[in-house]
Symmetry: C2
Subunit: 307 residues, 2 copies
């Protein structure tokens, strides 16, 4: 079991020598998911020795350059590397034309399928699931259509209390799956054996919320309740709360308010305005509201574990 | 007087941690010209502390990703930095739509003029000139429409041999410009005073040729005759000459043949295939034909000087 978040870049707007625009690589039980892809992301992926060929799912929060300009280069490199499996790209309406127009002009011919899932809705939906993972979009409030993403482990089957199960000869092997799925068992006498008697409590699926560029948005709280780890943009300090509102961003304090109300395990801040030379002011402001706030480092890896 | 070439990147195809796709910054008497703009070029420009605001002319050889994917990010950063002067972009037909479609989807509004000069011709023309510099396109032979560029100092006015000039009272100050432009002087007697008597020989304008992705193309030789410095792609070694031809590239030996026939001052090789771990094989192959061949280093600067 692995649930890791690799911070490839967490800066806003201008890429510089030591700061990289937004991109994160998520590993959920060996399912690799790339979230956002600012310019230079493919080089950041190389630095952490990520296996390009295993990244088949990309989620783009919004079509601002610092979140998207690296995607065409990443796709082009995958072509050169001989990728054959499909690449699934989730993003705002327009992302298909954005990428395909570049492929057209560069006369690039994908030898793998590029499958786009364009979003233009304003509610939270299950936008992707497979055996390992579920991804929900989180509607945000930015200057341009924007989503965050909630990534959850797929709930696992419950484990049987086999000694208890064996006490009931009527329960056959073919009934085990239903028990693991949480169903009660009905004896031929009509007596109900509650599921909790026959199984151990289900492990809570681990979850991570990526909250990209957004104004303070209280509605997030319900969507990410009890999330184990969350990233939330914190472009400004509270002294620039008006500026944050105007430009579609949050303050560090506002990010922390969301984390506190959502009962999050930990909060990673990011997307700091270039006006800040160092970010302790932003960190301290967040910690006053939500003590388990942290500043990321570029290429830092976070591992989610059950407590 | 300055004529400098800064190698921002010289690798082909896949950007990696230590190799950067093609981009060069040319400084001709403080006129800054960017040639090609692979992903990450803006960060390379920051490393050499280039003044972004002084770059108003960009020349793109062709619309393959390793020569163009950094341009949209560079333009976006110029917007954020508050650029107001026009940006002139020269490139293949299609470059305007390539960039403007990205600006549309990212909802970016340029506060400076973005002026495109789209090329679709197959002869060499003077495509740009101002008081300091002339730029000619060099038609190349790649898989996709592609040009190199010849950058020349504007010829300077000749210097007067003032002692000689003063021997002719008929020559007035208002005649000096014509003399500096190289014209002879006609006395009222009808006698012609040849210009060479009145002026020093003109300094040869310095020149630099950028020969991007191309098959061996003998026609280049006449277009860049006596160039002081040239860059020529050398994607492969001679053992892969067939591959070079097939993929629209040159071998190091072919690059050197062009340099020798053109009587170039020096040849910089580049755009090496990722299959080469080190490039001495390619360098030696070129040197056999043209001894003054060199391998560039990333961020290396070359200065042209009159001998």
């Amino acid at each position: 079991m692995a649930f890791q978040i690799h911070i490839l870049g967490y800066n806003s707007a201008l890429p510089t020598v030591n700061s990289h625009p937004t991109a994160q690589l998520i590993n959920v039980n060996e399912r690799l998911i790339l979230i956002d892809c600012g310019e230079g992301t493919q080089v950041q992926l190389r630095k952490i020795k990520a296996k390009f060929s295993k990244i088949n799912h990309v989620f783009i929060s919004h079509l601002h350059g610092d979140h998207i300009f690296g995607l065409i280069g990443f796709i082009s490199s995958l072509m050169l590397l001989g990728k054959t499996t499909p690449m699934h790209i989730f993003g705002p309406l327009g992302i298909k034309d954005f990428i395909e127009n570049q492929l057209k002009h560069t006369q690039s011919h994908c030898n793998f399928d590029l499958i786009f899932y364009e979003m233009d809705f304003f509610d939270s939906r299950l936008i992707f699931e497979d055996k390992k993972v579920e991804v929900y979009n989180l509607p945000l409030d930015h200057r341009i259509y924007c989503n965050g993403f909630l990534i959850k482990e797929k709930p696992k089957l419950k484990n049987l209390k086999i000694q208890e199960v064996l006490k009931f000869p009527e329960i056959e092997t073919c009934d085990y799956l239903n028990l693991k799925l949480g169903k009660d068992f009905k004896l031929s006498s009509g007596q109900i054996i509650p599921n909790e008697l026959l199984t151990y409590p289900q492990e809570k699926p681990l979850s991570y919320a990526f909250c990209s560029d957004t104004r303070y948005r209280r509605e997030l709280v319900d969507l990410i309740q009890n999330v184990d780890l969350m990233y939330h943009e914190a472009t400004f300090g509270s002294e620039l709360e008006e500026m944050a509102k105007k430009t579609g961003h949050s303050t560090a304090r506002q990010a922390a308010l969301i984390a506190r109300e959502a009962n999050a395990g930990q909060l990673i801040l990011g997307h700091f305005s270039n006006r800040y030379r160092e970010f302790n002011q932003l960190l301290n402001e967040a910690k006053e509201v939500f003590p388990n706030s942290i500043l990321p480092k570029t290429l830092q890896e976070f591992t989610l574990e059950r407590v």
